[in-house]
Amino acid sequence: MEEERLWKFRKPEWLNSVWARNAGVYGAGGLFSAAFYTLLDSAVWSKSAANSSSVHVTFVDWLPFIFSTLGMLIINSVEKARLSSDSFSYSGSGVAWKARVVLFLGFAALAGGMAGGVTVFVLKFVVPSVAWPAMNMGVENVVANALVGLSTVVLWVSQNIEDEYAYNLAL
């Protein structure tokens, strides 16, 4: 393991604990929940009496979030151990290649969702120069997609911690 290490700095010891991994997974769930309810907040506010403008949240505003979520689902469904298959002899029949293609699709969906959020924000809120309390709906769209990306990163990192933990235990 030590000879295969790529980076100059090693991971701190506390990152390899079960506690850090579980906290990461809980945190990822919390971040995803924050993303979903940020977007739901904009939708509820759009239909409530507080919204006096003529701008409303429609299906178009939800579409980037759906793509981000799809990307997150794909990315975190791939078995991470199959990615580095050059060190495993039993998974040589193109599994790593397939995993990389699927992972690429996942990251494309995630980045597409984030770009879509910015697009909706610019085209629907910035260009028609919507007044501020209604502008909040566009900002929340961007924030929600960014939170989904952050949640994906946290979940990915904590699942990699899990692999290190299992390796330490196998020794």
Binding site: G30, S33, A34, V44, A50, L155
Partner: protein
């Protein structure tokens, strides 16, 4: 971790009662009963963890499918906990409930969830003996 004695149980039930009091007051004072959803959320929060811990095989270290199911349960629990915080904020932001009702229901919900978590911790500690 101290042994779960009678005093702990009394204190926990007292905290639980205060939490329910806050949530119900936040509903009844303003005649808007949406904050009751917070109670349902926090009662539901440990359920995914519990189900997935029964589905997974914790001895399975080589193939990490067991850990994946456990992680799914933890993800859903984290989702539900933040949902309990986010629901009153959404309702207050849209003017469906008042801001004091939001504060009361958030504090009450946190008290209820803290009671559930600490009760589960004490219970697990007893199981190990």
């Amino acid at each position: 971790m101290p042994q779960a004695g009678l005093k702990t149980i009394i204190a926990l039930s007292f905290v639980l009662a205060v939490g329910f009091l806050l949530v119900i007051l936040s509903c009844a004072l303003w005649h808007a009963y949406y904050p009751l959803l917070v109670v349902a959320t926090y009662v539901m929060a440990p359920v995914p963890n519990w189900i997935c811990s029964h589905c997974a095989n914790p001895d399975d270290f080589v193939e990490s499918s067991g850990a994946a199911v456990l992680d799914l349960g933890r993800f859903c629990t984290g989702f539900l906990v933040v949902m309990g915080l986010a629901l009153p904020m959404i309702l207050a932001h849209s003017g469906i409930i008042e801001v004091p009702a939001m504060i009361m229901s958030v504090i009450g919900g946190l008290l209820i969830y803290g009671t559930i978590i600490s009760f589960a911790m004490f219970f697990q500690e007893e199981q190990e003996f």
